[in-house]
Amino acid sequence: MTMTMTTFTRNRLGKILTTPDSTLLKVLGVREGKNFTLKVMQPFGGPVIVEIDNRKIAISRAIADDIAVVEC
């Protein structure tokens, strides 16, 4: 089932389907086909923290909302 990165279950392995067009996202490994785990959602509209290739990346919630993912 397709969902967005912000509605994904924590600590479960997921796969990225589509992302907004952003160079910064791409270079940090947030690209189509990449596996990730959602680690934390920060409160007060703060970012989500995902782990991709053993690296933690913080992504603003507004952007994470536009990232379609699927469970592996």
Partner: protein, 588 residues
Amino acid sequence: MSCHEISKKIDPDAKYKILLMGNPNVGKSVVFSKYTGIEAITANYPGTTVSYSVGNIFHDNTKAALIDVPGTYSLEVTSEAEEIAREMLDSGADSIIAVLDATNLERNLNLALEILEYNIPTVFLLNMVDVAERKGITVDVKELRNLLGAPVIPGIAVLGRGLNRLIENTYRSIDQKPQYPKLTQAEKWEKAKEIAKSVQKKEDISENRTKNFWEKLDDLTVSPWPGLPIAIGIMVSAMGLIVGGGKAIRSVLLLPLFNGYYVPFMEGLVSRFVEPGLLYNILVGELGFLIKGIEWPIALVLPYVFFFYIVLSFLEDSGFMPRLGILVDGLMQKIGLQGGSIIPIFLGYGCAVPAILGTRAATSEKERKIISTIVPLAVPCVSQLGALIVLLGDYSFTLVLAVLVISFLVMIIAGKILDKVIPGKVNPIIIEVPNLLQPNLQALLRKVRMRLKHFILEAELPMILAIGFAALMFETGALIRFGEIISPLVVNWLGLPQEASIVLILGIVRRELAVLPLMDMGLGIQQLMVGASVAMFYMPCVAVFGVLAKEFSFRFALKIAFLTTSVALLIGGIVNQVFNLFALLGVA
């Protein structure tokens, strides 16, 4: 006019020009320092080097200019720092040293492929092979060399390992004329992925190994619980260390030395050659610059600066700063910023110059402008903070806290207004969270020593000149006349004694000078608070004005000077009137 001026000129004797490039936070500046002996500021998060620096390197009796280029994830420009990197490449070079992070090969390889397309001879340093091994990652260097078609040297830059071979290979590569195929961006990602896959062996060691203290902390500090309490704990202890440690060194060591030995010695020395009178007073009198010029920066402010630098360097090297950014992102959005902005703002508590330069890593002009306005306005630099602690802390520490609370309020209000006034939009947070690392003690002490040296060199000369000028005005009576002119402002609106007008002049030179002269005026609690508030928001010092003009425009710098001065006088007056009101109510 920078706090950390490093040469930007290429030595005309240098035969070659070598660029040092790579992703952010892969250790380029470490390599640069090892080769050139120039100490560049390094830290454990992306974006420490936002401007390039040039140093000389010798090999085979030939001099080459080595240029430390700001780190970039790719050559597609998203920030000012990346634009600088792109320009450096476009202007050409004899060779490139590209640093790759062995723990994160795929992403690094994408930039590697982009660099190779320029057809400049390139040699790769596969850095941090030790960290990679600890994570169970091994890289087949020979295979990587074949696939990239360029030399790859494995090494550990912080320990200097691999650096001799690296420079040998770099010099040897210079006359080659490589031809690499041009690929589309998508092809490059695909190729990077393939290369990473075929040269990297990952062994899953996470299960059969217990995590050490820093690795456990790594996970804990990114979650709001217990990350937020930990962050608050760290900030409170940092403040305690700076205030307590600074005061201890000042009162136990420096002041006794200063008053017991230095002052009598100087007075004795000067009285041998100079008759009592104007000159004598300017040298060693009440505002004598041989006395105050040493007492203020060295005996009073330096101890706080020392402890601040320890805290700052620790937070930088551990990788804690970006974590703080993540935790406060939600709150920062409310004032038009994003969590990552916390790093330049925090640097501003050291000095506004590197803070403003640091905004080059920001991805929008609006964010740069908001930070570059807030920092000179409401973030006290370390010398000023030290001076405020000296002025108020001896009375009561609550006063220091009160002034800091006022500064936070102003920061929030200013952020809100600037967010509305400055057109454009701030890009939401996307940052890499570096691994939390135990800071290396030697590297940390070296950094503290280097910053202290800068502080003393940069503080002393303007300080002595400014105090000399003040002494002259004081002794000749010019100060009294100036005080009379602006008396309505200083005496009526701010409720300060007329002689306090001196801080409005001296504060232009250095920010602690907007505070320290108030010390010997016998002020009461109300006047202390007013004086401290004015100083807190008063106009940027000359160095900061210079960097604002250079980074933005002279107009922008003038606007900031006008804004800060108005806010300073406004808030100072409000504090004064509030105290008056309370006094009135108390009487009634």
